[in-house]
């Protein structure tokens, strides 16, 4: 990874179509059983068109772009804001762009702007990662 430089980019489809099954799988693995994420009736009463994915599911899906790029344990920091709900049927594409290279704790690190867009091109996750390179 020694050749990583500012301006390097990556775009990766991290899920072709979000389904309720994906959302339920994430609920099971995370233990987050908020009914907004699996009970359509509950979600509609709360004013949403349907259930939607956990923000942490979008973060985890986006994380795959980072580990495919930098390796499984290269991340030193990974933070995002959930900027828009992700509904069943959407495709998500994760994007990354190296914005800085820095030396910290005796290792070379890349600072990466990370964001994920839905089928309509709207940003659903936006943040930054720091990876050892």
């Amino acid at each position: 990874m020694a050749d990583v430089k500012v301006g390097d980019k990556r775009d990766q489809v991290v899920i072709e179509r979000v389904t309720r099954t994906h959302i339920v799988k994430y609920a099971g693995t995370s233990g987050d059983y908020n009914p907004l994420h699996h009970d359509d009736e509950f979600a509609q009463k709360a004013g949403y068109p349907s259930v939607f994915a956990h923000g942490m599911l979008s973060m985890g899906l986006t994380g795959r772009m980072l580990t495919d790029w930098f390796g499984a344990v290269a991340l030193r920091k990974y933070g995002v804001r959930f900027t828009k709900q992700v509904f069943p049927g959407e495709q998500l594409t994760a994007h990354g762009e190296v914005t800085a290279i820095a030396e910290e704790n005796g290792e070379k690190r890349a600072v990466v702007h990370v964001w994920t867009t839905n089928s309509a091109g709207e940003t659903v996750v936006d943040g930054e990662a720091v990876a050892a390179v």
Partner: protein, 162 residues
């Protein structure tokens, strides 16, 4: 302008540390999480592949910090809510909550077999009037300490209540 949600009683919970929550980092938990978010790298599934790549055991995928150890005396079996979590009192009850974001700082590697203890405190509470109406932005900070007493991760979470 509606009455402010934040009262002196609301602010009283800032900095109060929760009871520690144990998390087990297990191979099964890592495989389930990796599968749920679509990882295809074998290091998350195959111990030999993980060791060949230089890891102690299956490494945690981003976003996974072990599975909280379930205790029926501490956690509601249906909602998964902690029964003893400090209650944040506002001027009127807030029924809804959404996750606003999360930042994980990794201080060292975390692999299957590790046992982590999470300690959480509310770091800040802010009130805003936005698309959802009157709402609170609650930031929490959690530290995760492993079996050797080493802090392995610090997580800042942002929650929205309205």
């Amino acid at each position: 302008m509606a009455e402010p949600l934040i009262t002196a009683e609301t602010r009283a919970v800032i900095g109060v540390e929760s009871d520690p929550v144990s998390h087990e980092v297990t191979r099964m938990g890592i495989r389930m999480f990796a599968r749920a978010v679509g990882h295809t790298d074998r290091v998350y599934y195959d111990v030999d592949a993980a060791r060949a790549a230089g890891y102690r055991d299956l490494p945690c995928p981003p976003g996974y910090l072990g599975t909280p150890v379930f205790d029926p005396e501490l956690t509601d079996t249906t909602t998964s809510r902690r029964k003893a979590a400090p209650t944040m009192r506002t001027s009127r009850p807030l029924a809804r909550r959404l996750a606003g974001g999360s930042t994980i700082e990794y201080l060292t590697d975390i692999c299957a077999g590790d046992e982590l203890v999470q300690r959480t405190a509310i770091a800040s509470i802010e009130e805003r009037d936005a698309s959802l109406g009157q709402m609170l932005i609650v930031t929490t900070q959690s530290t995760f300490t492993n079996q050797d007493g080493t802090v392995v991760a610090v997580v800042q979470g942002t929650g929205i209540q309205y």
